[in-house]
Symmetry: C2
Subunit: 198 residues, 2 copies
Amino acid sequence: MRRASITSLAASIVLAVFAGNAPGQQSSADVPQFTNDGKLLRPQGYREWIFVTSGLGMTYGARPSTSQEADPRFDNVFVSRAAYDSFLKQGTWPEKTVFVLEIRTSHSKESINRGGHFQGDVDGVEVEVKDSSRFKGKWGFFDFSEGKTSAAPLPASAACYSCHAEHGAVDNTFVQFYPTLLQVAKTKGTVKSEAKSE
Amino acid sequence: MRRASITSLAASIVLAVFAGNAPGQQSSADVPQFTNDGKLLRPQGYREWIFVTSGLGMTYGARPSTSQEADPRFDNVFVSRAAYDSFLKQGTWPEKTVFVLEIRTSHSKESINRGGHFQGDVDGVEVEVKDSSRFKGKWGFFDFSEGKTSAAPLPASAACYSCHAEHGAVDNTFVQFYPTLLQVAKTKGTVKSEAKSE
């Protein structure tokens, strides 16, 4: 009886760990959670996921706006751990991959800092999810700005869909800007040919 | 006999998880490893630790150098997961805390990017370790530039020791530049008083 209880306890811990809730860690809930009407719940705990890269003031148009030049935003990119582990092995993203783009204000010349920029408050959260059963192009995009706790997929006319599909170096994602993952993709041969030559 | 084997297997998995090697994950070896003569081994797998923040071109002197202005570096800050979990509870850093400052080149106007900066190759790795049994001021600093696989502590005369001790907002670390952890420290009341007013 005692041995059975220990077995049961050990099995429970193992199951909890496989579910991503290791003892002493917050749940990172890194599988996308949808409401019955197809809204994505705001990802929790993404700051404890895998950091992919960050950029400052990145723009894609012909000219950055004046406000962007004067007050650039940081963007931090995180991906769910299971998706990251899969990418290391395959060089592509599995179903249920979740990317979070966290946008933050930048500051300078505070405390001992005298130049350059460091990060301030969150100014936006955007999410990309791979789910072929839900999205025609396999990937859906969501905007969690203004503290939203759930969000419907952005309409297919939103620029993110065409831009990611056309310019993403690997599987709809901008791996050309992710230095560690770009090396993985090159090794696995999964970089789109037009992105390779740029 | 069969039940005993299952118990043993389950216990082994549980032990492996508590040691930080969850199934399907690379070992992140986030406890500092020293050689017999006191050199720190280069931290492995720190990209899978907790991302704290990043900055671009941050400088602390009277004026940034011309090269820094023209070709700024990103710095990404990572901390070991166990230390992070402890900080969330206490607002201070436990023994064996390891910080990694990863310095990367920046690029602009490649692929579809038209402005701002994104990250390039690693240009330096600096490490800070808390170990009261080894370091007089509790913390030691290490420079792993040029691909070093081990490093002796920097001499006590190095600027990092006095700067961190004098200006670090929490426990010798620049939590004033770590937006999520600064909120934790404020809640826990662990921000140094002179840093609060800045």
